[in-house]
Symmetry: C2
Subunit: 513 residues, 2 copies
Amino acid sequence: MNGAEALARTLVAAQVEVCFANPGTSEMHFVSALDRVPGLRCVLGLAETVVAGCADGYGRMAGKPAATLLHCGPGLANGLANFHNARRAFTPIVSIVGDHATYHRPHDAPLTADTEALARTVSHWVRTSASAADVAADAAAAVQAARTPPGGIATLVLPADCAWNEGAQPAGALAPPPRAAVTPQAMRDAARALRSGEPAMLLLSNEALGDAGLRAAQRVAHASGALLRTPTQVPRMARGRGRASVDRIPYAVDAALKVLAGTKHLILAGAKPPVGFFAYPGKPSTLWPRDCTLHVLARPEQDAIGALEALADELGAPRAVPVPDPGPLPELQRGPFRPDAFGQALAARLPEQAIVAEDAVTSGRALFASTFAAAPHDWIQLTGGAIGHAFPAATGAAIACPERKVVCLQADGAGMYSLQALWTQARERLDVVNVVFANRRYAILQGELAAVGAAPGPASRELFDLARPEIRWTRLAEGMGVEAARVATLEAFADAFRAACARRGPFLIEFLI
Amino acid sequence: MNGAEALARTLVAAQVEVCFANPGTSEMHFVSALDRVPGLRCVLGLAETVVAGCADGYGRMAGKPAATLLHCGPGLANGLANFHNARRAFTPIVSIVGDHATYHRPHDAPLTADTEALARTVSHWVRTSASAADVAADAAAAVQAARTPPGGIATLVLPADCAWNEGAQPAGALAPPPRAAVTPQAMRDAARALRSGEPAMLLLSNEALGDAGLRAAQRVAHASGALLRTPTQVPRMARGRGRASVDRIPYAVDAALKVLAGTKHLILAGAKPPVGFFAYPGKPSTLWPRDCTLHVLARPEQDAIGALEALADELGAPRAVPVPDPGPLPELQRGPFRPDAFGQALAARLPEQAIVAEDAVTSGRALFASTFAAAPHDWIQLTGGAIGHAFPAATGAAIACPERKVVCLQADGAGMYSLQALWTQARERLDVVNVVFANRRYAILQGELAAVGAAPGPASRELFDLARPEIRWTRLAEGMGVEAARVATLEAFADAFRAACARRGPFLIEFLI
C-alpha cells in the first residue's frame, strides 16, 4: 500500500468523513487513493479560501474535523485567511497540504515555497511526513491534535513521494485527551468575586456558548446578579427562544468601554480578556476598567460547562432557573433597510433550528439584540476578522447539518472575497439562503476613517466605493448556478426570505441598502 | 507630519505612481495621507489576490514598482499566491502591509497574525517600521530594494501608530545599484562551449527576453548554430514578427527531456537551470542530459544583454543578423476549439503592440509556436505556477500601458481564483479583451492523474469536474460590469475577438471548448 492510501484509510478510521479540496498535481496520488478508499466525501471549492472556510463552518457545526486538501505553497496561502478565522474559533481541521517530492524540493521548481512557514501561521500542529511508512502515524497524530481541546488546525504536509511510495500501513485512531477540569481554586475565586456584591460580568465563549454552557451561566447569573456577555465575535452560539439572551461586546471601542464600565469583576468562561479589534490614538487596547479584576474561570481548552455548573452549585443556584422571556416576535416593519428592523424581520421568519453564518460587517451590528426572540438557532461568525467568511462557512455548515436550514448573512464587500462558494452550494444542492447586504461600499472603512478624524478625499473615495460599476449579485449567483432575487424593502425581503426558506437548495437575496 | 504622510510623500518622490490597494482599518491613516498627497493613483481590487496580481502585471510592463496596500495578516495572506508569481518573475513591487499599533500587538486581537512570517515567504526584503520617524527612510529603502536587480518584492510592515504619530519627514529616493556586469571569464567559457561544435542551447529568461536581449541572442545563434529556448513560463517576452521565434521548454517532463536531448552545452542567460514543474516516479527532476555541461553566462541579476552582446562579438557575429521569417499569417480555421488553430486565430487578429497575459493552462500549451508570425507584442505568464494570474496581471498591465491593447488568456478553473479582477477592469475602463477557455474541468489534473498511472474514480471525478453546475462566464462578467459574449467555434471567436479589439474598454469572450 502506498502512503496516500494509508493516509486515506487512516482518516476514515479516525471518523473523518468529509474532505474539502482543491488539489493540484502534487496531490494526485492522494486523490487517486480517495478514488479507491470509500468513506471520505470529497467537496470541491473553486478557490482555497472557500475550502478553508467550508472546513471551518463544518467543524464548528459537526464538532469534529473535516479534512482539507490543498496544493503546495500558493494553494495553502490562498486558504490562510479563513484558516485564520478557524484558528481563532478553535475549529478542528485536519489540513493536508501536498508538496514536492522530498528530492525535488531542492531544485526550487516554480511552485516551491516555504509551506511549513505558511502553515505555522494558522496551525496548532504542523508536521511534514518524512517517508511513506510515516504517513499513517502522522495522520493519526494530526487528527488527534485537531481534536485536542479546545480544537485546532493540524497541518500535515505530504511530500509527493511520501504519497506514492509503497510500504505503508493504515494507523488506528488516537483518542484526544479530555478537556481539563477547572481547579477548585479558580471556581472558588470566581464565587468569592460574585458573592462580593460588586458589579460582575461573565464573559462567555467557545464551549460556554452551547446550550449546556448557557444554561449553567444563566444559573450563575440568577444566583449572583452577574451580567452575561459574549465577545464581539462568537465561534458558535446557541440562541433564540428558550436560551439566555446574551448580547455581545460591541465592536466600536467607545461602545465597548461603556458596556464594561463599572464592572468590578470580569469572569472569563472560555473567553479571552476582551481587547479592541484595533488600536486608536488615545484609546485603550484593553476594554475592562482599570479597577476591574479579571478572573479566569475556564480557559478555552478547559471544561467551562463543568466549571459554570460547579460555580452555580457553589452559589446555591437552583438546578433549573427561568430564562428571561425575550418578549413576542416583533411586528414586521416596512420601508428601506434598517439594521434593527432587518433583525426583527429575520427573527420573525427564521426557521426552527436554523444555522446563521454571519459576516455582515456594518449591517450586522444590531442583529444579536433584535433576534433574541427568534426560534432556536445557532449563530457562527468570523472570529478572526478575516472577511469573506459567511459564504464558505455557511456552505460547510450545510454539509455538516443537511437537515437544517442555513442562513448566510454576507456583507457585499466581504462577500466578493469568496463568492466562489456559491458554486459549491449549487453543486452540492445545499440548503442555504444567502442574504447579501448591498450597501455598495466598504462602509466600515468610511466609519473608521471618520474615527481617525479625517475627512474623505480622492483616495478614500476611490478605495471605499463599490458602486462604480454596480455589482449585480443576482447575475453573479446565476453565473454559478444559484437562483437569486433582488429586494429593496423590508417587506420585499420578508416575502423573498419566506419563499426561499420554504424551498430546498441554495438561493441568494440581494438586499439593496 | 505623521508617518503615513511621510510614507506617501517618499513613495511619490521615488516615482511610485500607482497604488493597488485593498486596505483595512489599520491602514486608515495611510489612506488619509493618500487623500492629502497627490501623485499616487489608487486602484481598488476586490480581493487581495487581485491587488497582488495587478502589481505583478504592472511591474513587468512598467519596469518599475507599483505600491500595494494590504491589510494586516489575513489581508496579506490572500495576496501571497500572486506575489509568489511576482517573486519568480523578479517583478519590482513595494508592498505596504498595515499592522496593529506596536503596543496593541501583544494583546493578540482577532486579526493579529505573524505578518512578517507571511511576508518573508514571498519577499526579497522585509522590514517593520519601529517608529513614525523611521517610516520615510524605511520606504525609501523599500523602493530601492524593489528596484535592485533583478527586482523583487520589498515588504514594509507599517504598524498603525508608526503611521499616525507625528515627527516624520519625507525621505529622498535612493538609487538602486546597476546590474552587475558578467565576468569576462563567464563570457569566454560560453564562447568556448559554442565554438566546440557540440550541440548547444541558450536558455533565455528575464532581461534576455526583451527586444535587445533577443537580438543579441539571435546574433549568438547565427554565429554558433546554438538553439534558443525559454523556460516553460516567461516573466515577459518580446514576441511576434521581427523578433526571434523562440519556443519554450514544454511543461510535460517527457516532452521537455526530448527538447533537451542531445544538448552538450546549456548556456543560461538570465535563466535558472531547467527543472520539472513537478516530480514524477521514475522521472528525473532536472531536464538537461547527464552529459550536458551547464554554463551560467548571466544570472538573473546580471547584465544578460551586455553579456549576450559581448558573446556575439567574441564569436565574430555581425552587428545585425537576419531574424528568420516566421512565414505568413496562417489562414483562419473553422470548427471547434483546437489549441493550435486557436493560436493561429489569435496570431491573425492580434493588434500591433498588444500585451498578452496568459494563464491558459492546458489550452495554452500550443500558443507560443502558433503565434510567431503575429504582430509584435509582449507576453507575460504565471512564473510561479500559482493559477489565477492572467485576469489581474492583465488588469495591472493595462494600467501600466494605457495606450496598448491587453489580451488576457485565462483558463476557466484558474480564472475562478481571481474573477474579481474583472470589476477593476470595468471600474478603470481598461482596454482588456479577456478570453476564457471554458473546458469546464481541471483538464490539467485529469492529465496528471493519467500521468501517475491511475484511472479516474469517484473522488477525482468530483474534484476535477467544473461542469456541474455550469459556470456562466457571461453572467459573471456582466455581474461585474464587463460586457461579454459566448462563442463555440473558431470562426465565431475570430469575429468576436476582432470586434472586441476594435472597441475600447473591457470585454470578455467565453470560448466553449
